[in-house]
Amino acid sequence: MATPAALPPLPFNPSRVRSYLLRLPLFTRLVLLAIVVFWLLELQTVWSVVQWGSLTPDEIGFGSMYRLNTYPFIHMGFFHAIMNLVALTPLIERFEAEHGTLTAVALFIGPLSTFPAGLYLLVEKFLLHRNTAVVGASVWVFLLLGSEAIRTFKSHPYFSLGTYKIPTWTSPLFACIVVSILVPNTSFLGHMCAILVGYLLGLGYLKVFVPPEKILRWIEGKLNLLGRLPHYVSVDQKTYGRYGVLPTSNTMGDRSTPMSYLGTSQPTIRNLRKNPHFLFVHLPHILSFLCILAGVVWLLLLPLNDYSRRTYISENALLPGQVHAYFSGSEQHIFRGYKKELEGLLPEGIHGEGSERNDVELTPEISDKIQSILRASGLKVATQNYEYTPAGISHRGQNAYAIIQAPRGDATEAIVIVTAWKTADGELNLNGVTLALTLARYFKRWSLWSKDIIFLFTPDSKSGTQAWIDAYHDMQPSSVQPLPLKSGALQGGLVVEYPFDHRFESLHIVYDGVNGQLPNLDLINTAVAIAGGQMGIGANLQEMWDHDDSYEARLQTILRGMVKQGFGYATGAHSSFMPYHIDAITLQTKGDGWQDEMALGRTVESLCRSLNNLLEHLHQSFFFYLLMQTNRFVSIGTYLPSAMLIAGNFTIMAIALWLRTGYYMGSQTHTSAPQDKKEKQPTSQAQSTPADTKPVPKIVERNLALPLSFVIGLHLLGLIPLFIFNNLSYKYLTPATHTFIIADIILPLSLATLLTKAFTPTPQQHLLIKSFSLLLLGLFLSTLATLNFSLSFMIGLLCAPLAFINRIPRTTSAPIRYALSFLGLGVLNLLSPPVVLLGGCWYTGVSVETVLAQAAFGWDVWGMWTQVVVWCVWWPAWVIGCALVGFSLF
């Protein structure tokens, strides 16, 4: 029988911690403050606080005796400081509370810091002849632990562990050992000295240093410290006064430690239970909002050095750049010769640079020429015809490819080098094709290949490779011819693009695959290492031409990568390889510099040599990563929580709504919206009735049929736009989008009208509709996050408002209700899928038709799934959100 009272208590109670912190006594506060101040001082670089105040054996002289007192306040960094603060606070608070502020000051400024320091200096300098500087409040931590251990020893001398009896005074020694094992750079000796002094303190040998009580009283009385200083603990007051415990003889070890604050019956929990409105309505909203916020902040943190890593070659067999690349010299003449032959086949008058060059298609003559060159070099050549007609646009062409059979292999593995006649940007890739032809002739003469090398020449970058790779795995549609000639399993693919005649400056590496799949990071690392290290050519990612390694540039690179990954379209000819688990990248030449086609050829050669070394498929390095620079990345473990937090916010809300429909609806009449003006009657009623006399909330039966069928029906309805947009001819795509925007305005309202008129849903059912919708959304998004992080993140953000909108209760006065709901509908309609599409197109300046035709092409040819997510995950959730606002009109 689940009632609010049966909810499990929170294991941790923030309000107790708060009140504990607020009651910390004076000296403890000062010590904590000093530690924080010293830590803040360290942040500047002019004056090294650590060097000034650390306990360094060689630096100690009469002029620098202050070090004996300053070292406990100084820390090596944030984590050192925070750990020591956390450890020290309860201990020193307890000490001060027991002995009074004055005694604490006298002891901690005096013997308790100088004695361990002196002991440490003696041992370190005169026995060990070393000079290790120590800092940190851990000396007090261990000292106090030592004294506490002696006190415990007096009351409970032994732990029993089976038959063994371990004296309790050894516990700080264990702690010390564990700390020095687990935490690097801790001074074992320093801690030991502190524990030793702690034992002495606990055994009472240091009592002589405690100022006599008479003097303390006198000082207190004269200065009226008690009245003047806040949080001051008097000599008399000590433990008893403050906690209101009668002074008895055994109060010594009886005080509960701060840790026992983690009890079961805390007042906060009780308050929460008395206030179910907060627990069930406000708290989930706060949590959801925090989740979204944390998700976004998490992403923004990723470019920092602390959260990203330098790339490294994980697969040792690759050995990038370890071989000399011989492609140069006479090969350049061959390159020029081939280029002349191909240029001769171009139509008249477009030999120079110019945009009309880009209209030149791969004619059958050029294809024949390519084949004859390949045949003349001694390669086996074959062709493949294909045709696709997505969105009413026909893409047809002929792939030509040739295979170099490995002299040292058995044709079970192969590498592909692809040059498309048109680059991914639609430019004529004449130099790239010529380079591939030259490389084919050059590679053929080497005897060191252990994998077949396939040279593929496609008419364009979008469909040709896809047709070829599909046919290579016998997965082609009927409009694509099968391949007459095949080789072994493909181990890697390189796409070469050189779309201009002048020399280039740097290489642009494109790596995004279809549906956000990425090639193994090792391939990119190898390409970067070879281009940058061996060849001296700079490498760029994500069109970041001047990456200055700043936070902004890194973040921009990540975001560009995420946008490409999220849309899931093919960014180049290499993208088609990814679904078949073949790692591939595109090398594009960029800029105007002094690198020539031979440098590019050598890079390709060196890359092929590295791939040739592989003993098994690339698997060592990461498949899920976000690159922020050519040599920095974040791996999935670090970035995934950000999308998961955003997906989780919907799940939290769904669970909360479910709980609310079951437990909380019964006690209240109107609960459906967390809007203002609802604090008054129900909550006060709930607060005024004590928990035990409250009537047992009766089990509320949930009417699931209507919400379930509504939510599931809408998700299935998403198939209709999916079908329409993927099969419409390109001419009608723009009008269809506009029609759909209007349909999106009408549909939720008409659904709301229909449901209200036909079924008159209860407030509970509204909540259930929202709960199921958000549950499904969270479910889909978290699944998606494992497959395509960026898409999940983007859709999660766009859907974020859906977690917070509700049906506005009828109790709200009609004008406000109408105004609010129309406002809500307006805002939501700005976030509907087609409007977001239009907005995005307007912002980037691409026409809607192009984007949608590309999407339909992607669906048909590449097997792109982005549309499914949009229409069957995002859109239904959005319609339900709108309908919930729409319900408030009735």
Partner: protein, 423 residues
């Protein structure tokens, strides 16, 4: 005989939905047949076709070590046209099997044994679903549809178990034993249901006019029936196969010793992959013992409701069986609506259902990452099968809790609807 309109509508709807899916997505059955969640080595349709191929060519179907199912299926499927060329007859056949199962469920539901029996009568009798709703719940459950389209032979075991139950609750204990024998013949584990089923039969008989024989005699009689039915089926198999020892080791040996560690939604495969061979026999024993151990405990503790014991055991089998698939889960889910009166007493339905939904979505995603994308590994998928089992376990323990609570409220009427804390 008057035709029940609702029943006809539900059945026609279910049949149409299945055929519609087949027509709209012709590749769906093959896709589902290949999914590890639907097809396990002991109920895969692909393996059945392999066995069928050998059988129709007069080779022992167990040659080649692919086929591990009962031989009586072979002559039945040999009558159907080849599913590769003509998928429709097979699909219709499987859909009809589903309808037959739903019919059995209607009988079980309408007998009212889930709500009131010989020793008990539920407190919330008014909250219940009628037989047609229960059947609809079964027929439109996505897991059932996936199993049906995936053509898993587990549905025949389901038929056996459901008919054993429906015969038992209508008092026909003879047929109940024959059906259970059929189910056990197909896949061993239903034999574990024997004890609660005999109790169910006896309770049902005792509700009738004449008193049944003593419990020992009654059990022995039924055990003889049960053994007789299995022996008969084995004898028929012998006529079909010829090599008896090969048949036994390829079917029952395969199910008992679990040599095929293809991933599935259960917990065994990963354990046995990781395990050293020398421990294999020991842990096989432990795992089977664990599975069988629930029978005694549940039967004794919930003696008053043998039908619920069977339901709970089916849930346990769906989790802890050597080769579980979603068809086992769908059988368990199909029996749960009989206990609609317990739903108000259950506490974690939402979490259990969420966990199961998450596992349903994440399972294929992680399997894809592991097998196709190559960017994940076996631990991804195994983690999700753990979540799946966790979801089922929560649901199972929650229903058992609800039953116990219900019984407790009957015993302590003064505590009805009040809060109680278990210590």
């Amino acid at each position: 005989m008057p035709i029940d309109r609702r029943k006809t509508a539900v059945f026609a709807g279910a049949l149409t939905l299945r055929l519609l899916l087949l027509v709209l997505f012709p590749s769906l059955p093959d896709l589902l047949t290949g999914r590890v969640e639907v097809s396990t080595p002991v109920n895969s349709f692909k393996r059945l076709q392999e066995g069928l191929f050998l059988y129709t060519r007069n080779v022992s179907p167990y040659d080649g070590g692919v086929f591990h199912q009962a031989p009586l299926l072979l002559p039945i499927f040999a009558l159907l046209p080849n599913a590769k060329d003509l998928p429709l007859p097979t699909a219709v056949f499987y859909s009809l099997i589903d309808l037959i199962n739903a019919n059995a469920l209607i009988t079980i539901s309408e007998s009212g044994q889930a709500i009131a029996g010989r020793f008990f009568s539920a407190l919330r009798k008014d909250i219940k679903w009628d037989g047609v709703s229960v059947a609809a719940w079964f027929l439109f459950n996505p897991f059932t549809i996936a199993t049906c389209l995936g053509r898993s032979t587990g549905v025949f075991t389901t038929t056996g178990i459901l008919y054993a139950l429906s015969n038992a609750v209508t008092g026909n204990s003879f047929n109940a034993m024959l059906s259970l024998g059929f189910a056990s013949y197909l896949s061993i584990y239903p034999a574990l249901l024997f004890i609660p089923l005999v109790l169910l039969c006896r309770d049902r008989r005792a509700q009738g006019a004449k008193q049944p024989a003593g419990i020992a005699v009654f059990a022995l009689q039924h055990f003889a029936l049960f053994s007789f039915s299995i022996a008969g089926l084995l004898g028929m198999s012998y006529l079909i196969v010829g090599d008896f020892s090969q048949f036994i080791s390829a079917t029952y040996g395969f199910q008992l010793l679990v040599p095929d560690l293809t991933p599935n939604v259960g917990l065994w495969w990963y354990f046995f992959i990781e395990m050293f061979d020398s421990f294999r026999e020991f842990f096989l024993g432990v795992f089977w013992l664990h599975l069988a151990a629930y029978v005694g405990g549940l039967t004794v503790r919930i003696r008053r409701q043998p039908l619920f014991v069977i339901t709970a055991l089916l849930g346990i089998f769906a989790i802890f069986k050597p080769y579980p698939s979603i068809s086992d889960a769908s059988l368990y889910f199909s029996l749960l609506p009989l206990y609609r009166h317990l739903f108000p007493l259950m506490r974690y339905t939402f979490f259990a259902v969420s966990a199961i939904l998450y596992a349903t979505l994440l399972g294929p995603a992680f399997y894809h990452l592991w097998i196709y994308a190559g960017s994940g590994n076996a631990n991804f998928f195994y983690a999700i099968t753990l979540v799946w089992s966790l979801g089922l376990s929560i649901l199972l323990s929650d229903t058992i809790f609800a039953v116990l609570r219900d019984e407790w409220e009957q015993d302590n009427p003064e505590m009805r609807g009040k809060e109680a804390r278990q210590v």
